[in-house]
């Protein structure tokens, strides 16, 4: 008897998951379909750019600097053994531009801005503001969801570029100013090692993809949240967990495509 119940439970979970995936895909298509409005009334998007992009600036800049400093310290310790401290610049810059910049900026963005988006839209739904908009013949996806989506997609590559730049600065401070690696070789090795198209453009493509994924997940979780206090808090947690895992998974896929055959 219990076996049948377990089977039923498992089947219910799987069917539910597939159902949710389908609903999420339809939601994503609706965002793209109604995004025309968010460009025509651009001040809506600008307002969201402020709350998701500008408000994430501090955490991104500080985190980037410290990550770069740690890279400088650890990289120096390892490279010193092989007498190749001069490669510190290219080590710091390559790891930031290719991986750490896009990935860490996206993880921070997911927990800083993604969770806020979910909570906001979830509460809007719980307090029936979304239904009120529908009553007034205002499309909530065009008015509320699409501007937030495009704000996230626009700010993610910018934040990741800022993260990488601050990281390189942090690596410079530790490597050149504090430890005393030669300044000339630090920058010249960096420029020799980092290719604009291969590394920087690919890193930007990564962060663009992460931006789409994080904001789409955050908005969907908020829109799909049960209209209760518990439902909103659960949705916020799911946003952070799901988008973090999605970022790391997508990073693996994108890296495999971009940097294969080297």
């Amino acid at each position: 008897m219990t076996i049948v119940e377990n089977l039923r439970f498992l089947g219910h979970r799987i069917v539910n998951a597939v159902w949710r995936i389908g609903y999420a895909s339809r939601f994503f298509m609706l965002i793209l379909f109604y995004s025309g409005t968010s460009f025509r009334r651009f001040h809506l998007t600008v307002k969201e750019l402020f709350s998701s992009g500008v408000m994430s600036l501090i955490i991104i800049l500080v985190a980037g600097t410290f990550v770069g400093m740690v890279l400088g310290l650890q990289g120096y310790e390892t490279l010193k053994r092989y007498g190749s401290e001069s490669a510190l610049g290219s080590l710091v810059a390559l790891s930031l531009v290719r991986e750490l910049g896009p990935v860490l900026a996206a993880l921070l963005f997911a927990s800083r801005a993604g969770s806020a988006m979910t909570a906001e839209i979830g509460l809007m739904k719980a307090t029936e503001q979304i239904s009120a908009m529908e009553m007034m013949a205002i499309n909530p996806i065009a008015r509320v969801v699409a501007p937030r989506f495009w704000a996230g997609v626009i700010s993610m590559p910018l934040l990741s570029a800022l993260f990488s730049a601050m990281g390189v600065f942090g690596g410079y401070v530790v490597g050149v100013v504090l430890i005393g690696v030669d300044q000339g070789s630090f920058w010249s090795q960096m420029q020799a090692g980092v290719d604009f198209q291969h590394d920087i453009v690919n890193g930007m493509i990564k962060s663009f993809v992460f931006g789409v994924a994080v904001t789409a997940i955050a908005l969907f979780e908020g829109y799909d949240a049960p209209p209760t206090a518990e439902g909103v808090s659960g949705a916020t947690t799911r946003t952070v967990v799901e988008s973090s895992l999605t970022i790391l998974f997508l990073d693996f896929i994108l890296t495999a495509f971009m940097f294969q055959g080297e």
Binding site: F50, V54, A161, A165, Q191, D195, F196
Partner: protein, 160 residues
């Protein structure tokens, strides 16, 4: 529509992000060293290119004059065909010698051009006839070991 302080902050954010991208491109990346000047293409056949890759540098007297554009196998000669993009400011004589060299013991491989004395210059699409293949470290070591073995054989024979 009124201008608000919010617009200013968003403006600062976008400008800072684009500036960071520019810093990455110019200071960190190699966009500043990309030659935007005009180029022409040359070809060369090598019997072995070793670890040469597309985008590898082409140097003459240590100065960067171009990059490797494309590497393919010539199906008729069974040799590697390397297409090189050279900066138009630099002209090379017809009897220029192309060498595949290694920077440092285990560093990257690049093509070194040694100009000859011919008065006619290579034109776009021409082929560099005189080439020398990459030095493969394993070949060197095996040749060295082989010659050592030969030496010791001779030493063995001498007392007789």
């Amino acid at each position: 529509m009124k201008r608000t302080t919010l617009d200013l902050w968003v403006g600062i954010f976008v400008v800072a992000g684009l500036a960071a991208l520019a810093v990455l491109a110019l200071k960190v990346g190699n966009l500043s060293t990309y030659n935007v000047s005009e180029t022409y293409q040359l070809q060369a056949h090598f019997s072995n290119i070793g670890g040469l890759k597309p985008q590898a540098s082409i140097k003459s007297s240590g100065v960067l004059v171009g990059r490797v554009a494309q590497i393919s196998l010539d199906p008729e000669r069974y040799e590697a065909k390397v297409t090189m993009t050279i900066d138009k400011r630099y002209q090379f004589p017809k009897d220029t010698f192309a060498n595949i060299l290694t920077s440092g013991l285990l560093g990257e491989q690049y093509i070194g051009l040694i100009p000859g004395g011919d008065e006619a210059f290579l034109k776009a699409g021409d082929e560099i006839k005189k080439t020398q293949s990459a030095v493969v470290l394993e070949d060197l070591i095996s040749r060295f070991l082989y010659s050592k073995a030969e030496d010791s054989k001779q030493v063995d024979k001498q007392p007789n």
